[in-house]
Subunit: 356 residues, 2 copies
DNA sequence: ACATGAGTTGAAAGCGTTTACATAGACAAC
DNA sequence: GTTGTCTATGTAAACGCTTTCAACTCATGT
């Protein structure tokens, strides 16, 4: 337009060089009449500077609207005050709840959390972990104990502690519960009521140490009573509500004397799918079919009938995991395993078998 | 133990000084026989270095297991490759969905996302934003257009672009929809069926530009037909399923001729609560009461009866918001407003009023 | 032969903190 | 008065990158 007008000096970065550069510690130091080191101390270790000095610094900082540059801080201290979390999926309410309380706890300790989902895929998870390590997170929370073997190596190399959640392990720090025992107890409850044909349907068991053991628990309980969990009654489906609907079809398709009289589900979503399909096909729950879910999702209590389910305190898992990780990151001693106890919540979807 | 043994030199940071220090660019440079500048270029702008050199660098980097230190990078470039998102709550599936697709899109562009929830509180939101700005996020996604006035000032000061979602604005970049129009259409659908007493129940409307307009839309549709949305039929509740149950009690408590024949809900969770309570009290949906939800949550289609609801494509909102923000952060031109169209999904919870 | 210029590379100056170390006072003990 | 101990502050060197600028290498055109 106007070639006479001198172009603004190109700044170093591609961003516009604003006259209003953000204030840095040096500016605060100048205004407060102290050195930059004192500014840093006043902000990070207030007890180490004389009250009068401290206040001068605080005042100057407030006046300028100064905020510490966290990248510089991270570079200097070699800690990012950031932790990473990888959950299998955001579609499962229980993970979101755990994530949420994990985050709340971390936030209170002045940590930021970077979250990602693996979509139940080990390679994706590894990729996300790489990304997180590159961001030099100070700690990592993972779900379950099955991961890319490289993951542990890499994390250790970067000295990033890992906390495992939702399952137990004797080789890693963990906050979780015994998945097998949970369904074992649920199955026993059904067997006590007289059920003989109990089915189990879970999400994918590949690289998953929650779903597999849940099926195991049922098998075990039945075995103890001389019953067999027949293959047709042991289903692996993709997770989610629609998967539950499909499962119903597969389980209840055969002749009546082969159909299960009760189903234990790996998630409440699957249970909901089964209930929905049952209602559509006119199968009465619980009179003709008992159903037990897992997780006690928010909707479970208000279904009709309300869903009997295995409740897991996800908030607790998230919170304790966070506290544990905080300990680990600060080289404090730390119990290796925290065991959460799932609780069988009796509601309206279980009854004795019809033919009893 | 052994006082003769010299103590290991105390390292600068409190961490243990590992013999296995992580490799830095300098190490790669040395191994590849090039300068550190070339390493940086090979990694960031491969096309600017001769193929042979590039490969030498890559090989050396791989051999050492080198990863860029993102804090150093951020400090140097003044960009963190991190964006922040604040949603009102993780308890609302629709926000989680949007967040998830936002994240996926950002991730593909090599950005990390820091997420937080405001719990529908402006002060909390502002606090989180402060925290995010301190982390020097490059961009911000917020839900709705009502925020602490400081928020915009501070963001602008840091030159952090903001994208608003789930509602529209002519003052800010936004990806959302017309909340009033959405319920307006839903209300008209009910009115066309002959309903005269339509109620509306939403979550908190304070500092919320989604819930308020949703109620507005109903009022407007009724007004156009000479009907009045009476105060007793216009409810604000805390969000969630239990809130829905309460709402049912309040709305259906009065004498029959004052009860609404249809209810439009601000979320599917509220609708679920209402349905649950209705079923418990023996009120037949849809014959005695029609219900319309909002968001089309995953469980809505499998309720019995399946919930008629206003579907909002949260994945789309998340994805487009991310793309928009990416444009903004790269000083690219950008449409100011992207309008998503909600869709009324007809299912089983609406029927003509009983007394027609 | 020489200037021109495009394409590569290296040296070095940041980026904004933290922190080891030095220094300077103040005060007590001798 | 000297010495030593403390405490509060300042100096300056990292931290590990990116990027400007200059230098250098080869073609290429004249």
């Amino acid at each position: 337009m106007n070639p006479d007008q001198p172009l603004p000096r190109k700044s170093r970065s591609s961003n516009i060089d604003r006259r209003t550069r953000l204030p840095v510690a040096q500016d605060v130091a100048r205004l407060a009449g102290v050195s930059i080191a004192t500014v840093s101390r006043a902000l990070n270790e207030p007890e180490k500077v004389r009250p009068a000095t401290r206040e001068a610094v605080m005042k100057a900082a407030a006046e300028l609207g100064f905020v510490l540059n966290s990248a510089a801080r991270a570079l200097s201290t070699r800690r990012s005050s950031t932790v990473g979390v990888i959950v299998p999926s955001y579609g499962n309410e229980v993970f979101v709840r755990a994530l949420s309380s994990f985050q709340r706890t971390m936030r209170a300790a002045n940590y930021q959390v970077l979250a990602a989902s693996s979509e139940y895929d080990l390679a994706t998870e590894m990729q996300e972990v790489s990304f997180l390590l590159q961001r030099s997170v100070d700690g990592l929370m993972l779900v379950g104990g099955i991961h890319d073997p490289d993951l542990y190596t890499r994390a250790e190399r970067s000295q990033v502690p890992i906390i495992q959640s939702f399952s137990l392990s004797d080789r890693h720090y963990c906050v979780g519960f015994d998945n097998r025992e949970a369904t074992f107890r649920a199955a026993n409850y059904l067997l006590d009521l007289g059920h003989k044909r109990v089915a189990v349907v879970t999400g994918t068991r590949e690289n998953n140490d929650r779903a597999g053991p849940r099926a195991e628990g049922v098998r075990l309980a039945m075995a103890e009573r001389g019953l067999e969990l027949i293959p047709a009654h042991d289903l692996t489906v993709s997770s989610g509500i629609v998967a539950g609907r499909d499962a119903f079809g597969q389980l209840m398709g055969g002749p009546e004397e082969q159909r299960p009289t009760a189903i234990i589900c790996g998630t409440d979503e699957i249970a909901l799918g089964i209930m929905s399909e049952a209602s559509e096909r006119g199968v009465d729950i619980p009179r003709s079919l008992s159903v037990i879910g897992f997780n006690d999702s928010s909707f479970s209590a208000v279904l009709s009938p309300p869903l009997t389910t295995i409740r897991v305190d996800a908030d607790e898992i998230g919170k304790i995991s966070a506290l544990a990780l905080l300990n680990l990151m600060n080289d404090r001693t730390m119990v290796q395993m925290t065991r959460i106890t799932p609780e069988l919540v009796l509601r309206g979807t279980v009854a004795p078998p019809a033919k009893l």
